[in-house]
Symmetry: C2
């Protein structure tokens, strides 16, 4: 690795260390040691399993116990034994705990907002932050099924349409295309998958089924900041698995030669080119894969 790259990385690390440290210490403003605040935030973020919190925060089991006891005494947290395993415990926020968590969230949001507000070139800065966050966290991007009408899905689909409009010579108007109705992409007929990075969607793919043995793959899109991590391949594998699960025998898809990376991906994944199978005005390449 080039020394200059290392120097640049380390300059980045120094710059964010200051910010991150400030963010941490803002948690001290509510009369509670950092350790306890971090536990409240971990529970609020959905980590209810005690062992999970312990692993996430890197705490000793004794220390963890004591932090939970002190939070219980404060009335912010209740613990109960895990329904599946009486050795394990789950922690929950009480109402007061929820309020406390919200207060911490507001602190963080306010910090973020203040920082972004005085940043020139905020859109570029956010894109750069996305790229950094996704690069560092690329092993934690998870693929999950979602409703295509959910907010996260619609965010992806909007971005997909916008990108198509930019990249296709003809532009793209979703109303002129064969827009699958949402039901076709929901079980039992089909499915819709999202790639989620730390709670935010960074990619999607739809499986449009009709109830029969032939289904279509639609709406494959990856956030520009998340490209190059093999996410499209993972989404395609996941959508094939979902199709098999739905007893679908043949998959089809259409695409456009203005998206060469998509064509290359399909060819590499064993799709074979076939004749036009619809009259949609936008695609000029058609593929099929027998499962």
């Amino acid at each position: 690795m080039m020394p200059e790259s290392i120097a640049r990385f380390r300059r980045f690390a120094r710059a964010v260390t200051a910010e991150v440290g400030a963010l941490d210490s803002s948690f001290l403003g509510r009369g509670r040691p950092l350790g306890a605040a971090r536990v409240v935030n971990a529970i609020g973020a959905g980590r209810t399993d005690v062992a999970e919190i312990r692993a996430y925060l890197g705490l000793d089991s004794g220390l963890m116990s004591r932090l939970l006891r002190s939070l219980e005494e404060e009335g912010l947290v209740t613990t109960e034994t895990h329904p599946d395993d009486a050795r394990r415990r789950v922690a929950r926020l009480t109402e007061a705990g929820q309020r406390e968590f919200s207060a911490y969230e507001e602190l963080s949001d306010a910090r973020a907002s203040a920082l972004l507000e005085r940043a020139p070139r905020a859109p570029e800065l956010l894109h750069a932050m996305d790229l950094v966050a996704l690069s560092l966290g690329r092993d934690r991007i998870a693929i999950e099924e979602a409703d295509p009408r959910s907010e996260a899905a619609r965010t992806c689909l909007e971005a997909y349409y916008t990108e198509l409009a930019r990249r296709l010579k003809t532009g793209f108007d979703v109303k002129l295309s064969r827009d699958p109705e949402a039901k076709a992409m929901v079980r039992p007929r089909g499915a819709f998958l999202l790639a989620m990075a730390d709670g935010l969607p960074v990619g999607c793919v739809g499986l449009k089924g009709s109830g029969g043995p032939v289904a279509e793959v639609k709406r494959l899109w990856i956030d520009p900041a998340a490209r190059g991590f093999g996410l499209a391949r993972r989404l395609m594998e996941a959508v094939e698995a979902a199709a098999r699960d739905l007893a679908i025998a043949v998959l089809r898809l259409d695409t456009n030669s203005a998206l060469p990376e998509a064509l290359a991906l399909y060819r590499k994944a064993g799709w074979v080119e076939i004749d036009r199978f619809n009259d949609d005005p936008y695609p000029d390449h058609f593929f099929e894969k027998v499962l």
Copy 2:
């Protein structure tokens, strides 16, 4: 500020917190508490004044004293009174301290290197990191005088030539241009200024003098990741101040209409357009400013 922007910023903060935390805790691998390690690193980085270290690390004066005493006992640091003010003290690393500092540096470099090596799209990632680091640290960018033959200056000049080659329709070959010899941009004839962000150069400008009352401003360049922070304006103000200091009465410069942001900057800063004053093949606009 949009809620989505805040969510994206906070995802970024979470992603880097993990990395940065790991970087911090890697300092613990050498049998010394974090506080002491941070002092060694601060001294190694050139912060010798005790008050300066204290301010930088945000330490209480008593704690600072104790940390220095413990490092002295370990044989890593010596302190002596400041030559200009016998109340103040300066800390220096002993040879053993230097070795220890190098060991810490190698740890950090190794971490950075490992992280960058397994990153796809490393050049893009580094550019994004630059943008983040410079945005967060834009108030700490300092302008300083440097030798145009120094490594930092040459890095900027190379980047400047590359950018000109890309942006001018005719391309750019520095050998065909009137390349000022370095002596003309060094005192007493001229000057060369660098904008430094945390030790790395992010912009430059040259003042090419002949010993007479007329001098030229040359080689104004800003790192793309540092644009939008008003750095060009600051560099131009600094170069004007340097010119006044050298008793120069009239400044001139030439530029090209393919660089509209430069033209706009000069006009806004009170430069007036004049007739061509040289036969350089590249410029098509010429400016003058009477100091």
